[in-house]
């Protein structure tokens, strides 16, 4: 592995975290709406 590899892992971690938050957040919102639809 070359020594001058760009040190930008922080951006990658941020992107993966943001994706997880958006996808999980929407999944939870669907789950909450589904529970509400079942009980109403």
């Amino acid at each position: 592995m070359p020594t001058d590899l760009p040190q930008n892992a922080g951006y990658m971690i941020a992107a993966y975290l943001v994706t997880a938050v958006i996808i999980l957040g929407y999944s939870v919102s669907l789950l909450v709406r589904a529970r509400r639809a079942r009980t109403d």
């Binding site: 592995m1 070359p2 590899l5 760009p6 040190q7 930008n8 892992a9 951006y11 990658m12 941020a14 992107a15 993966y16 943001v18 994706t19 997880a20 958006i22 996808i23 999980l24 929407y26 999944s27 669907l30 789950l31 709406r33 589904a34 639809a37 079942r38 109403d40």
Partner: protein, 232 residues
């Protein structure tokens, strides 16, 4: 519970199971991208953003094309279920667009040196996002269901017409955005291990789309069935 309501709730359940499967797949993509895909020498770790950015773009554009197609079918058949599907697909498309529009700048900053540039691909994509935000706002502003479906179908079709421009903008204009590595006439311009991770991620994002849209469509059906029962 009427049989129709039961069927709508079953659709929601199926969607949730599919979503669960998609979430497991997403976890697998994270492991595959981090542990089993080589680092790109020139871009470093930031290149791995590509494995979520490109599949999110794929899912978003697919969602918006399906909004347009179902809008055409709605205007032809006037079936409210098709309108419900278009509504569901537009919402899910916005979720994936949000992933695309946040991960893109997170890649752009270390590679281009800027979070954003008014490049043709980026600008078209942002317009598409705002167009479908407008689609959602329009649906919220019209109370009468048939009128809401008809007006929003027209906006949905216009949104779909923008999708090919987003895809070919990198060929039509001088742009900073990289050209497609997979969805192009020639062979993929990446090593096989990277193509494998990208393909797995695209399948996973497709499963997530199917899970989200099935759940959201089922929720729309439940609401519509209850509304009809109240009106009787």
């Amino acid at each position: 519970m009427t049989p129709t309501l039961a069927a709508a709730r079953t659709t929601v359940q199926r969607g949730l199971w599919l979503t669960g499967l998609g979430l497991l797949g997403l976890a697998a993509v994270y492991v595959l991208a981090q542990g089993f895909t080589p680092l790109e020498v020139r871009q470093g770790a930031a290149q791995k953003i590509f494995y979520i950015h490109a599949p999110a773009a794929w899912a978003a554009l697919m969602a918006f094309v399906l909004v347009g197609l179902s809008s055409i079918i709605y205007l032809w058949l006037k079936d409210p279920r098709v309108d419900l599907f278009a509504e569901a697909s537009a919402e899910v498309g916005l979720v994936f667009s949000l992933v695309m529009l946040t991960t893109g700048p997170l890649w752009g900053k270390p590679i281009w040196g800027t979070w954003w540039t008014w490049d043709a691909r980026l600008t078209f994509t942002l317009f598409l996002f705002f167009l479908f935000v407008g689609y959602r706002a329009l649906r919220g502003a019209i109370a009468e269901p048939a009128e809401r479906a008809r007006f929003s179908a027209v906006v949905g079709i216009l949104g779909m017409l923008l999708v090919p421009f987003v895809h070919i903008s990198v060929y039509l204009f001088r742009t900073l955005h990289p050209q497609p590595v997979l969805l192009k006439p020639s062979a993929p311009s990446m090593p096989p291990e990277m193509v494998r991770t990208l393909l797995v991620s695209m399948v996973v994002f497709t499963v997530l789309y199917l899970g989200f849209v099935t759940t959201r469509y089922g929720l729309g059906l439940v609401a519509q069935t209850k509304e009809a029962a109240r009106a009787d």
